[in-house]
Symmetry: C2
Subunit: 415 residues, 2 copies
């Protein structure tokens, strides 16, 4: 076990975080660096430059995941995998995803700088499209990696401009012609991810590190309302098939039904697209998203059934169709890894508390193929997916120190 | 008075209508030729080519209105003005606006071809941005022409891409450097506009021509809901300030209140913009349009007051602000011109009926400065502002014959 002071460089970590945040920076201090965008390609260049400086071996896979590998003595030993994502929401913050990738890179960079080769590969990963804002649903890279969703299907998903994931992936790979390509998927020894909490529990407890026990379940849906276009000044009200009228009634009913079922159910309609969306034209179509989350799988299933029942009640004056997209039950992380994180923090004098993740993360999918755990750090006022997202440097460094220690232990552990 | 057969050429009118519809044609058979777009510039080129072929003098004004003038003997006499618009909704039809401009052009072209100079100018006009879909509100060209809205203000209005009317106007004028510019505004002897009904009354009565008695009143508003952005999986429901939730409740309440006040009130929410509009982000902002119409000004005012009162009730969890845009009371057209239209039709053996316009038209504004009237022709199933808008050629020709006869009478009338 190395001395803690040498396990990572907190100042370099913060400096790199600030540098990465300049790519896709928004005037309000946030980041717009959506999946497979020019910004993400530019962010890859920066990561590759840093990796090259320390002799890490870079590669990508057909799903557009980026791997930065510190070579171990035994290339056949299952590698330690650690990372997060660098794509952001359209008006996202500097820390969501980026903190986890850079903390992982810092741990591995410091390990490389110490010059002692670990027995197994240690790999930093940046997963493709965690956020799901440009291309829905999110977590495409980790889903393809573990095999829960076929890459062929993922490649057909389109963004608002009609560009497919396949086209955007080919463009990404075409931007790095010399970057080695590896096959899709392998079985790691374990996966670790550091991430901001995106809630207020750690902040309220003044606790710099959360040991994540699991992730609450999530379902997402797309709802399409189909009516008939017409002139706002001439079509009599009883003859209208106004998709916005039906949307307002249906959405009100859904919000009310979810609140009545259980106020702790997270229910969000975040995206609404109206067509043709002109002031003097009765709308013929409204398409909207539903995001539904809860730790209790039975309650989540019941909420999903009620949403389907309510949508099914609407037939006139517009047709309503409901398409399920994501159905991810809540999951628990590896108990041994949780204990290891708590012990490492304790040895470093860093306070921890157990915490349930309300948000989804790529770790949800990795947990299906290997022991997996997450470290949370607090973010100010629990705000994320917003330009004023903020993490105190001391909290980032505390979390990254714990991560570096656990990665070091696991990399040099006897198997 | 000329013989009717020589007053216009119905086949040429239809041919030109089909040719104009090719500019901005959509795959579904409609037209997307929004105000000041490349399509509208191309449509101007076609109109200018036709005008040149008959020796009409073309000009434009600072508001981007297009004038095609048959010169009269006395340049100081107040001119006859006749026309409509050639811009369309984003998924508009071939006839809305275009039918009126081309029927006017046909009347004046035939008059020029007969070779007898009228005592006064006869001017075909295509007004700028009647539809108000790209730049809201609509009828900008006629409003600037009659002076009810300053061109300086109009020039500051932006489209969804942030392009101002001013920039788009300068681009339009820059595309026609040799086209003479006239000052904004003059007082015509009268204004006539042929237009599709955009309703079902003429069709139901199997009547090819409606003599329009007036236009129902119209108010439009912009409503902005301001909440707070947040993560769909982490922010507890009681702490949310979800702008989509408030939109669904507010819109439902507005639809219900208008129906309760009077089911004949036309109430439309046609445009809804959500921000940031991502599935896993609680929306911080919703901006939507209200379009409100009724022939009874007192009822319309009462409806406007109720909308303001309902919006005023919403303060938590989101702020709601209401901005009035258009406030156009219902108006009546010139009785002498209505009688003249009915007589001309009768002389041609064309059946007419009086009809109130449910839709707004540029004629609403011209009526403030000169005797004004409108001729309606039926459209199939009352459908307009839609790609399957359709007019029977016989009905278009019947309406255009009546228009040509009235224009001829007025042009050669003794003053």
């Amino acid at each position: 076990m190395s001395d803690d002071a040498s396990l990572m460089d907190g100042e370099r970590l913060w400096r790199r975080l600030v540098a990465l945040a300049e790519i896709g920076a928004t005037p309000a201090g946030g980041v717009n660096r959506q999946a497979l965008s020019d910004g993400e390609i530019e962010a890859w260049r920066l990561l590759l430059q840093w990796a090259e400086g320390t002799g890490l071996a870079a590669s990508t896979d057909p799903a557009g995941n980026l791997f930065l590998t510190l070579r171990g003595a035994d290339p056949t030993a299952a590698p330690i995998l650690v990372g997060s994502h660098i794509d952001s929401q359209p008006t996202g913050g500097r820390f969501d995803g980026a903190a986890g990738v850079l903390a992982a890179l810092e741990a591995v960079t410091s390990m490389a700088e110490r010059g002692r080769q670990p027995p197994r590969d240690v790999i930093v990963v940046a997963w493709m499209n965690e956020e799901g804002s440009r291309f829905a649903p999110g977590m495409m890279g980790s889903e393809a990696f573990v095999g829960v969703r076929p890459l062929e299907w993922i490649r057909t998903v389109k963004d608002a401009d009609g560009i497919t994931v396949g086209e955007a992936l080919d463009r990404l790979h075409g931007s790095f012609p010399d970057l080695p390509r590896r096959q899709l998927g392998f079985v790691p020894a374990c996966f670790l991810e550091l991430h901001i909490e995106q809630g207020t529990l750690l902040e309220a407890a003044a606790c710099p590190v959360g040991v994540v026990t699991g992730i609450q379940g999530k379902k997402t849906f797309r709802v399409e309302i189909t009516g008939r276009e017409g002139h706002a000044g001439t079509v009599p009200m009883p003859e209208r098939r106004d998709a916005v009228l039906v949307f307002s009634q249906l959405a009100s009913a859904l919000y009310a039904a979810m609140a009545a079922l259980d106020p702790s159910i997270m229910f969000t309609i975040g995206r609404v697209q109206v067509s043709p969306n002109a002031p003097s034209v009765i709308a013929s179509n409204v398409t909207f998203s539903i995001d539904l989350r809860h730790p209790d799988n039975a309650l989540l299933d019941e909420a999903g059934r009620r949403i389907a029942a309510i949508c099914g009640e609407y037939t006139e004056p517009c047709a309503v169709s409901l398409t399920p997209l994501v159905d991810a039950p809540s999951n628990l992380f590896d108990a041994d890894l949780q204990e290891r994180i708590a012990h490492a923090a304790s040895a470093l004098g860093v306070r921890t508390m157990p915490i349930l993740s309300a948000a989804g993360h790529d770790a949800r999918h990795l947990a299906k193929i290997c022991p997996t755990a997450m470290i949370f750090i607090p973010c100010r006022d629990g705000i994320s997916h917003a330009e004023n997202e903020w993490v105190e440097p001391d909290d980032l460094v505390a979390g990254a120190r714990v991560l570096a220690r656990v990665v070091d232990e696991l990399a040099f552990a006897q198997t």
